[in-house]
């Protein structure tokens, strides 16, 4: 693995930005590893949760954003509730996904990004999530076409997948929320 060249390879201010967005001080982490030890998905991650936070501490933005670990994070919050330094690591993972999405860095886990994208698209247009629609959209985006086909059929047979998407009256309000948040984020991104 490549050597870290300090402070040169860091993006100054990255740690601070993540701390702000996540609402928790990443510098408080003393690298005890308790988060990684309890993380249900750490075995599948390319960087362990404590390593992610370590890279963040050292402002290693590019390397962090190229990781897939935070996309794999299941948001279970186990890490946050057990951290002795009260680092809200689950929120750090959220913040990294947010920064990654906004800065358009290729996601280490395109499928998950695709899944989130599909989910949000449906909420934006219908106000609520429509699971069948989401699954279909996700399959198209991720090209994960054949995985789970029989499961979908089973669910349909049991009446668990609603065929017709419901639409709420306030869907335009919801769409407006999406638009305003995006505009705000774009503005912020421009500033940075």
């Amino acid at each position: 693995m490549k050597a870290l060249v300090l402070p040169a390879s860091g993006a100054p201010g990255f740690a601070a930005e993540v701390s702000r967005l996540a609402g928790t001080d990443v510098q408080a982490c003393y690298a005890c590893g308790k988060c990684s030890a309890g993380c249900p998905v750490s075995a599948s991650m390319d960087y362990q949760p404590h390593q992610i936070i370590r890279l963040v501490q050292l402002d290693q933005k590019d390397e962090v954003l190229s990781a897939s670990a935070f996309w794999l994070c299941a948001s279970c919050v186990t890490c946050s509730v057990r951290c002795p330094r009260e680092v809200k690591l689950a929120q750090v993972m959220d913040a990294l996904r947010e920064i990654s999405r906004r800065s358009g860095v290729a996601a280490g886990q395109p499928r998950i990004a695709a899944f989130y994208g599909s989910f949000l698209d449906l909420v934006r247009s219908g106000g609520r999530l429509h699971e069948l629609g989401m699954t279909a959209m996700y399959k198209l985006r991720s090209r994960d076409l054949f995985g789970d086909i029989d499961l979908g059929v089973k669910l349909m047979l049991r009446g668990k997948l609603k065929l017709i998407p419901g639409r709420i009256k306030g869907r335009h309000h919801v769409a407006g929320i999406f638009r305003r948040v995006r505009e705000h984020e774009a503005g912020e991104g421009g500033k940075r």
Binding site: M1, L4, P7, A8, Y30, Q51, L58
Partner: protein, 659 residues
């Protein structure tokens, strides 16, 4: 013929339930020299003790055996009992038939048989007992403190405040030790000089304290309560009684040399005080550099000294001091970085030690407190600190942890970030050890508030590249190699023993560990005492420690010393070794065996026929002997014996078991 009384205890049912007391008393009555046997329900109770006293009077007993609980429980009780009845307290023996018999055996027959054996052993031993008295010696009510760092200063002040005279011997021209070189001190970040200088001044002003600065201990004789110390007062070439510390001399002196106090980062003159607040504020001529001593001319200082204090032909002075107690506070020295060629200390000026860093940030230091690189005076932007340099490294350094460097590095990080706006601080560490009160918080402050970036791993190499120092390390938490391009590299050097610590230990007759630190008698129970009575330890001479621990230990040593000096006289151990001079061949095989240096040679004269011969024999100093008995085994001529545990007594016991 001895007249022995045996007192067998029931201890309620504790003994009587398992041991047949009747059989024991019957058997005891048959044993040689036993003239009276009694049994008591509770021997240690007042009626029990009274019955012993009565029997002594009634039967004219001159020795007593109590068959009861462990001597560790009631030996003292019964010594007092027989003493009250007019017997020498050492004419007592205990047969332990409770802890070592009734409580560990269930079989009544076997336990009774064993109890009888134990009584027989005690009877056989006590028959050989003789009256013992412990000697007493007077106490010289004066203490000596060797070393005038914060440890010595604190100990001296405490002993003096307790009302005793104190003589402080400091080998450098000034008090203060390493603490005088520090800038701010963790964990409170108060300025070292601000808290130290008033104490230094207090030492010289204290009516009970005599300070011999620029002096060394040559020789220590005597023993607890009565040490005779020879001190060499080195010639300063300045009459201390006249010098006012005005500074006219060093202003005019033409010779500039590197200042030891500033670790070579600054300069001083050939006539100098180490630092402006030095105590005593007396000038000293460095004869190795003074032109007059080298070439026989100059004497400029003399011309400018209005006090006429310069004495070029001053000689070392030897003085003898008698003291009752000694506190050793000779401190530590920094690990020599030369071992770490890979870090380039000494080769690259921008690789410095932690102590040098202290001088760089110190407002009264060579840069007036501005952190500048030694190479070009530039203010560094990126500073790398490397911890455990020399410590925890068996290969190039010492195996132990130096205990202070984690904290002082955190302090250095805070000071760097405070003094250099926008600076970046990286700290390579193996562990962060912060076990003091408020210490972990202090370290967290360095890393959270002050933005020091801690990298877990040892640095492999430091080398220069384009005006920077490249630091090559590993972040073991990431499993990644790390390269930091630094402007200044600070090595947290370990604390090691003074170069002459072992020599000092030998002079004092105290022990030292494999690293040269002086050893305490017991790490938990006697942490400031040495194995030599009357000699106490304070500060970093005992092992690496920071100022709070140093001061705590100095206070403890002072109170131990003061308690000793408060005694009218010292009573020595009674059960000590004694030499049968008739048998002693003077070979002194016994001498090195004694852990307390209690044995020495003495010359005796005897009449052989008509001639008087003198010869050398071993002598045991009763004030020093602790009664371990090791020497008795070393003596091939059976000239040494241990009172209370003589060879005859022990063999009598053995024979009582195997009749």
């Amino acid at each position: 013929m001895p007249r022995i009384g045996v007192f067998v205890c029931w201890c309620g049912s504790n003994i009587a339930a398992t041991v047949d007391i009747g059989q024991v008393t019957e058997a005891a009555a048959e044993m040689p020299h036993v003239v009276c046997v009694e049994d008591n329900k509770y021997t240690c109770s007042e009626p029990g003790q009274a019955s012993i006293r009565q029997a002594i009077a009634q039967h004219g007993l001159d020795r007593v055996v109590v068959a009861a609980c462990s001597p560790r429980m009631h030996e003292n009780t019964f010594r007092k009992t027989i003493s009250a009845a007019g017997l020498n307290p050492y004419l007592l023996e205990i047969a332990n038939i409770r802890e070592q018999c009734s409580w560990v055996h269930a079989d009544r027959v076997a336990a009774t048989a064993k109890a009888i054996d134990l009584v027989r052993m005690a009877v056989a031993k006590v028959a050989q007992h003789s009256a013992l008295t412990s000697s007493t010696s007077p106490v010289t009510r004066r203490a000596m403190v060797i070393g005038g760092g914060i440890a010595g200063i604190q100990a001296a002040l405490d002993i003096a405040d307790a009302g005793h005279e104190v003589v402080v011997v400091e080998r450098s021209p000034t008090l203060g030790g390493h603490m005088a070189q520090l800038d701010k001190t963790f964990p409170t970040l108060d300025c070292s000089a601000c808290i130290l200088t008033p104490k230094m001044v207090e030492v010289v002003q204290h009516p009970k304290i005599t300070l011999y600065a620029y002096s060394e201990v040559e020789k220590v004789d005597g023993y607890v309560g009565s040490f005779k110390v020879t001190v060499r007062r080195k010639a300063r070439s300045v009459d201390e009684s006249k010098c006012t510390g005005c500074g006219a001399c060093w202003e005019k002196c033409p010779v500039k040399v590197k200042s030891e106090f500033d670790l070579g980062l600054g300069t001083r003159k050939a006539i100098y005080v180490p630092f402006p607040q030095a105590v005593p504020a007396k000038a000293t001529i460095d004869r190795e550099h003074c032109i007059y001593y080298l070439r026989g001319r100059c004497r400029i200082c003399e011309r400018f000294c209005e006090a006429k204090a310069i004495v070029f032909d001053q000689q070392d002075e030897i003085i003898n001091v008698e003291v009752g107690a000694i506190v050793v506070a000779t401190g530590f020295q920094q690990f020599d970085q030369a071992a770490y060629g890979e870090y380039g200390y000494g080769e690259y000026p921008d690789v410095i030690t932690g102590l040098e860093f202290e001088r760089l940030v110190n407002a009264s230091g060579p840069t007036e407190g501005k952190i500048k690189r030694p190479s070009d005076g530039k203010v560094p932007e990126t500073v790398v600190f490397i911890k455990c340099v020399g410590s925890r490294d068996e290969h190039k350094g010492v195996p132990y942890c130096s205990r202070t460097c984690c904290m002082y590095t955190a302090k250095h990080a805070i000071l760097t970030r405070e003094k250099i706006h926008g600076s970046k601080v990286f700290i390579f560490y193996m562990d962060v050890r912060t076990p003091g009160k408020g210490y972990e918080e202090f370290y967290r402050r360095a890393s959270e508030e002050d933005g020091a970036r801690y990298l877990r791993g040892r640095v492999s190499r430091v080398y220069p590249k384009g005006g920077k120092m490249v630091v090559l390390g590993e972040d073991t938490l990431l499993g990644r190699k790390v390269i930091v391009e630094a402007d200044l590299v600070v090595l947290a050097s370990g604390m090691i023993a003074q170069p002459d610590a072992q020599e000092m230990a030998r002079k004092l007759g105290v022990s030292y560990d494999q690293h040269g630190f002086l050893t305490e008698a017991h790490p938990k129970l006697r942490p400031v005492e040495t194995n030599t009575a009357g000699i106490f330890l304070a500060g970093a001479c005992q092992g690496p420690k920071d100022i709070p621990d140093t001061v705590a230990q100095a206070c403890a040593a002072a109170s131990k010393a003061a308690a000793l000096l408060n005694r009218e006289a010292l009573e020595a151990e009674a059960m000590i070794a004694c030499v049968d001079e008739a048998r002693c061949s003077g070979c002194l095989w016994c001498e090195p065996v004694c852990p307390y240096k209690a044995i020495s040679a003495k010359t005796i004269s005897e009449r052989v026929g008509r001639r008087t011969l003198t010869r050398s024999v071993a002598e045991v100093n009763p004030s020093l002997c602790h009664g371990c008995g090791a020497c008795t085994v070393a003596c091939r001529d059976s000239a040494l014996n241990l009172l209370g545990f003589t060879n005859q007594q022990i063999l009598a016991e053995v024979e009582a078991v195997c009749p």
